[in-house]
Amino acid sequence: MLRITGGKIYDPANGIDGQVKDLCVDDTGTIVSSVDGGRTIDASGMIIFPGGVDVHTHVAGGAINFARAMTPEDHRRTQAFIRTQSRRSGLGGMAPTTFATGYLYAGMGFTTVNEAAVPVLSARHTHEELADIPIVDKATLTLMANNEIMLDQMEAGEYERAKNVVAWYIWAAKSYGVKAVNPGGVAAWKWGSDAKQLTDPIDGYNSLTPGKIVTMLATICDDLGLPHPMHLHCNNLGAPGNISTTIDTLKHLEGHRAHIAHSQYHAYGGDDWDTMCSATVQLAEYFNTHPNITTDAGAVLFGDTVTITADGPWQHLLYKLTGRKWGNLDVENETGCGIVPYTYRPSNLVNAVQWASGLELMLLIRNPWQVFLSTDHPNGGCFWRYPEIIQLLMCADFRSECIKTLPDRIKSKITLPEIDREYTLYEVATSMSAGPARALGLTRKGNLGIGCDADIVIYEEEDDVARMFSHPRYVIKGGEVVIEDGDIRETPEGREFLVKPSCAPETDEFMRPLFEDCYTMSFENYPVEFERIENPNMQECVNASEK
């Protein structure tokens, strides 16, 4: 039991903007109206947020684990967590180890993370890895948009079948929703080419286009009543002039819910690398007029990182541009991923445009319930650098100082210098917690109302915003004080959120022959056993029409 008194509460889910109020937590880790006894934390003069929610990150699974193997030089130069009797050791850096991932997220007040790309075939691996990430609660999204069994059904116009296939895969992977990456493009990449236009048929298909996949998959997610809508990584990532593809994609989503991942990478104008510029004004305008879609920034921070995405074609381009290491991993019938270590430099015009675009999107999209804090970890920067982004959002002066360090030629390519908006604490709380929790459909997260999970962060108010957000005074996860004065106190295990969408019973029989034709694993061994999930937490699917 716990009582927190005297703090200024920022709880956008309940419209509370800095009012002083007490918070009470019962023994089950739930926020209640009153408690008897237990510890009291005096939070007078402090700021209270709901625990942070990362809507899009890559912290576990085959790809990030491949990235770890590729970057021993980074592990050596980064921070190290030292083992104690109650805590495991680990390394931070570009691709932190599992235990360190939990400590680092909790250390900056994040208590829920969404691993946004899980191939079904290695889902078992991802879940085993997630079980080794302490403290935070977790959700996973299954990669679907290049699944050949599903694409074949779509091509044949068998919508119901395609829907059942998706539902079957979600439960087989024990995941929480659907991630679509570069629809049709990864399938084409496996032959060394790419899908650039939404209306051109995909290599190997007669009539199926990326646009059709997008619309159908979004419809399927809505019809299955998934708590989180389709999580879409658009085609043509990172290419100059891709804004037209992105807007075109968004038009295919009219009337549907959707979450657009790391939109910074999809908001460029120009024709080539020389003329590339920010097209965020156009994209933000679309979001401002279409409340049905949410997005996360996928902001870029200058410095070293490792880029990993299921977007193989983009990765190969990066490898050719940088001439550095390159890893690529293709997964049968489903997806692929590429891994390239990369350094974003302010002196590089392209990188500078990317840096500005991420911030522009967060500032130009007016409703903080629509645009969330993310770096697409580790692609744009590491998650533990989020406080730096918050500082850039909250302090226009600091922002203009940073812009001054960019090359002069940048001025005509970006809008950032003309934006004077500064995020308020209330807006930050929306963008890093309440908003992503709502988009994920996690009703007990990002919310300090009665009956919600007691995931609470308490900051000591400071002028140095980056410091304040990277050093919370207390972090409370499920009612337990996990961080206090910068020290890790407890390392409870987190839960995993799952959904079981309804699926026609004959799907198993339908899948079996197709499956055995293209996979190298026996059909029975393929689905992840429910018993293998540590601390599973089932969430309901509610069809939109039944709401």
Binding site: A80, E128, V331, E332, N525
Partner: protein, 317 residues
């Protein structure tokens, strides 16, 4: 630069085996995953695929190949390096090519086939990775595969030995960031193959105890390493009597993984497979033994005084 076996089964129309003998060492590999399989993209199965075998002698696997290239022993690294030059249209002398035991015609043909295939795949075995040059031989083939992607789709994959080597590798990576050759003596993981890898530690006599699970170094490691294992307290967990268990001070008999103990095994392409035990064993599983040893150790006072270490350090040694 890798992919899962299903990708090979579905798409690979050009498969090169280098220094491995799958016909005899991985008997189900050909039929289950690679050349014999028919697929949507390669409907005629074996007829749609070209198989190349590179080895120092004509093994059983070589007989299954369309093309057999006999490389002189110890010239794999040179041969791969020549191929890297040839794909970039660099001039390599006939004499230099001849040193590898092959002809220019054979290599030109190979390069042409590599560039014109739709999906190429290298599998490499111990004949490459455990001969002179070791990790650099594997690195050479991985680099060649990466560079081939400038022309077409190409991947490379090691053919691992027995046991769940890949599984250990995968888990060490997510828990420590490194696949093997790790020390924890400073309280956090540090990595340096050659310094901290098991065989080197044993050969130099750098450790004063050994704990061995699911391996038989007593049969496979060089004599100085075995001698050191005999000198120090060695504890061995194994379902069977092995060379190592015979020289160990303590041998704990455990249930056999996959037969009477459940778990997960990682396939050579890092795809996890559930192990569903068919039999019951009177012996404890490895996991249970390790857990109980851990619990016993936790009862002892910690080897560092409370609070003598920071939780986190920002610069490592």
């Amino acid at each position: 630069m890798t992919c899962t076996l299903g990708e090979v089964k579905q798409r690979a129309d050009f498969i090169v085996y280098w220094g491995g003998n799958p016909a005899e060492c991985h008997p189900r590999h050909f039929t289950k995953y690679t050349i014999m399989q028919k697929s949507k993209f390669l409907p005629r199965g074996r007829k749609d695929r070209t198989m190349v075998m590179v080895d120092i002698r004509e093994t059983k696997s070589a007989k299954a190949a369309n093309i057999f290239l006999q490389v002189k022993p110890g010239k794999d690294f040179e041969l791969i390096t020549i191929l890297r030059a040839l794909i970039k249209d660099q001039q390599v002398g006939d004499e230099q090519i001849a040193e590898t035991g092959l002809t220019r015609e054979a290599l030109d043909d190979l390069v042409q086939r590599m560039k014109s295939c739709k999906f190429g795949c290298f599998f490499f075995g111990m004949g490459l990775s455990m001969t002179r040059g070791k990790h650099m031989n594997s690195a050479a083939l991985l680099t060649l595969a990466a560079e081939m992607n400038a022309f077409t789709k190409f991947v490379a994959m090691p053919m691992r030995g027995h046991g769940n080597v890949t599984g250990a590798d995968v888990i060490m990576r997510w828990q420590t960031g490194y696949p093997f050759g790790i020390t924890f003596n400073r309280g956090y993981p540090r990595y340096n193959p050659g310094e901290f890898s098991t065989v080197d530690v044993l050969v130099r006599g750098d450790c004063d105890a050994a704990f061995i699970i699911g391996a038989d170094p007593g049969a496979t490691m060089p004599q100085p390493a075995i001698n050191h294992l005999k000198r120090i307290p060695t504890i061995c967990l194994d379902p069977h009597v092995t060379h190592t268990s015979k020289l160990a001070r303590v041998h704990i008999t455990t249930a056999a993984q996959g037969i009477s103990a459940p778990g997960t095994a990682y396939r050579m392409d890092e795809i996890p497979m559930p192990l569903k035990p068919a039999l019951k064993s009177p012996y404890p599983t490895d996991e249970e033994v390790v857990r109980r040893i851990n619990e016993a150790i936790a009862q002892k006072p910690f080897w560092l005084p409370e609070g003598s270490q920071p939780q986190m350090i920002s610069t490592q040694v």
